[in-house]
């Protein structure tokens, strides 16, 4: 049995809109339709898609907040919409934008309160608090009220709080949103450790493809309520022919850079923009450029999610079947080799 089983899941909303002076028309909006996937214990899955694609709706159904209108759903063998309270003991949830902690309480008190609410036994609780305090570097923050914490500190506190009852699954909704580069790196490191050492299954939504790249072996892309891709990230890039951009600042103005594996998109004085396939390593390209030219500075821009998804559509989904996508690893039509 898989840890998460989603079978033809659907959620539609009836939206009433004013049509004319008194009349109101009811429209049915399908936030999620015909969604099917499974997640095995220990997986780290990235769940991405544009705003309004149905990510939050899916997470809300997986956590039992929203009741589905169609399909079947099991998380750790539990039907979330029927046994929401039983499910809460098996899962941890972190909403990136808002805290689940108590605003006026120091972290230490929030943790103690959660221990009593989740009925975690004292020894296990102490062990967990110690572990997460060390891994997430919370030592100096334990006595600070949550409202005085910075966004990054609060996020770390929220994640520790969501893990005190040893959930099997951790849902993270935009965990790195608004964090600086260093905080993002440390958070990802922690999540990797959590997955490797405790076997916690992670499902995270994000707008940052770097999160996926560094954490997730698998990525699911949702758009207009349906899965458009389910598989490895590098194949997503291959399929969508998405490109990364190498921005080169030369010491002097020069003709367009000529190196294998990249094409110049734009030249502006000494600055040039080179694009190369997103599933290729940037290292050989950087080495080639640096060997042939006098380089003042280099930077790499990742493709953004909207761009990748647009490209998936532009190239068409083979056979129109989203489910087939994850299993046809060999044949990837339309990828230049």
């Amino acid at each position: 049995m898989s840890l998460i089983e989603v079978d033809r899941l659907g959620r539609s909303f009836v939206v009433r809109r004013r049509a004319g002076r008194f009349r109101r028309e009811a429209h049915t909006v399908h936030a999620v339709r015909d969604l099917s996937f499974t997640v095995e214990p220990g997986e780290m899955v990235g769940y991405i898609g544009p705003n309004g694609a149905g990510k939050s709706t899916t997470i809300k159904m997986l956590t039992g907040i929203l009741v589905p209108t169609a399909g079947r759903l099991r998380v750790a063998g539990i039907d979330p919409s029927r046994d929401r309270v039983a499910l809460t003991r098996r899962i941890g949830v972190v909403f990136g934008q808002r805290t689940t902690l108590w605003w006026d309480l120091p972290l230490r008190d929030s943790f103690a309160l959660l221990r009593r609410i989740y009925r975690v036994d004292a020894a296990r609780f102490r062990r967990n608090v110690d572990t997460f305090t060390e891994l997430l570097d919370l030592g100096d923050l334990l006595d600070t009220p949550v409202r005085q914490l910075s966004l990054g500190q609060r996020m770390r506190g929220d994640i520790a709080a969501a893990l005190l009852h040893d959930p099997e699954i951790l849902y993270l909704d935009e965990p790195t949103i608004g964090l600086d580069v260093v905080s993002k790196g440390r958070l990802r490191e922690f999540l990797r450790t959590l997955n490797a050492e405790r076997g916690v299954t992670l499902l995270l939504t994000t707008h940052d493809l770097q999160d996926i790249e560094q954490l997730c072996s698998r990525v699911m892309v949702i758009d207009h309520g349906s899965l458009v891709y389910d598989g490895a990230l590098h194949q997503l890039h291959a399929r969508s022919e998405s490109t990364r951009t190498l921005v080169v600042d030369l010491v002097d103005e020069a003709d367009p850079i000529d190196v294998p594996g990249a094409t110049v998109r734009r030249v502006e004085g000494p600055r040039q923009w080179l694009s190369f396939p997103a599933d290729r390593s940037a290292a050989p390209l950087v080495a080639a450029v640096a060997a042939a030219y006098d380089v003042a500075d280099l930077s790499i821009a990742e493709p953004d999610i909207e761009d990748v998804i647009t490209r998936i559509y532009a190239h068409g989904v083979p056979g129109g079947q989203q489910a087939g996508l994850s299993h046809d690893a060999g044949a990837t039509p339309g990828v230049p080799r």
Binding site: F13, K60, I65, A76, G77, I78, A86, T100, I117
Partner: protein, 282 residues
Amino acid sequence: MADALATVRRNPLSGALWGLRAYLILARMWVRVSLSYRASFAALTAGQFLITGLDFVGIVVMFTNVDTLGGFGLPEVAFLYAGSGLCLGLADLALGNIERLGARIRTGSFDAMMVRPVPLYAQACADEFSLRRLGRIAQSMAVLVWSVVVLDLAWTPLKVLAVAGMLVCGTTIFLAVFTLGAAFQFWTTDGSEAANAFTYGGNTLTQYPLTIYPAQLVKVLTFVVPLAFVNWYPSLYVLDRPDPLGLPAALQFASPVAALALTLLARLAWHRGVRRYRSTGS
């Protein structure tokens, strides 16, 4: 699969007991938070004592100009006033902040409540539990004791029981009204003012003898929004007053019925509201 289903089929009584325990855990935590700002806590409590006390001073001042109000003397009005105030105060203490539900829904923090293993109602009731509300209770209690001493009633066991019943049922009625107001916010997320009209506003109505109002209003307060059962009808019995409107004396013992009906209605509304939230997500 089978064992997972078995673990979730809990019996409702243990569920309710756990809800109560979780409520106490959360409430105690909020008390600790407020006590860490001792000076502000003391000021707020004293403030509530004085503000609600001022209400009663107004009534006393009124009685320097008149001897009776709607046919009732000052000690009797004080008894009515204190009965209503005490019931509202107890209900307000227990779940006064449930009115913040709308704000929680708007900001999305209601979702955070839904991923915790505690009944939502217990969490919503305990939200920012505050002992400063003891101010109103203390003030009403003082007025009640004063009125009982001055009235010098002919106490019988049944009258003592009637007073106790008045406090229990009256508090229950206000609890239900608070809950109804909160449940209403599942439909209109900024309806807390409408709810306040019935709780705090209801208290303002019932702290005077209902004889000062038109008979139609008294009937509304009896059969539609049954706030007259909080203190008016039980007090008529305790004060040995025939019903001024000539309504059946049985109403004077009907507070438990009103409290039960309103509780069931509130329970239904709350569950409907939660169900609506879970099917709209907003």
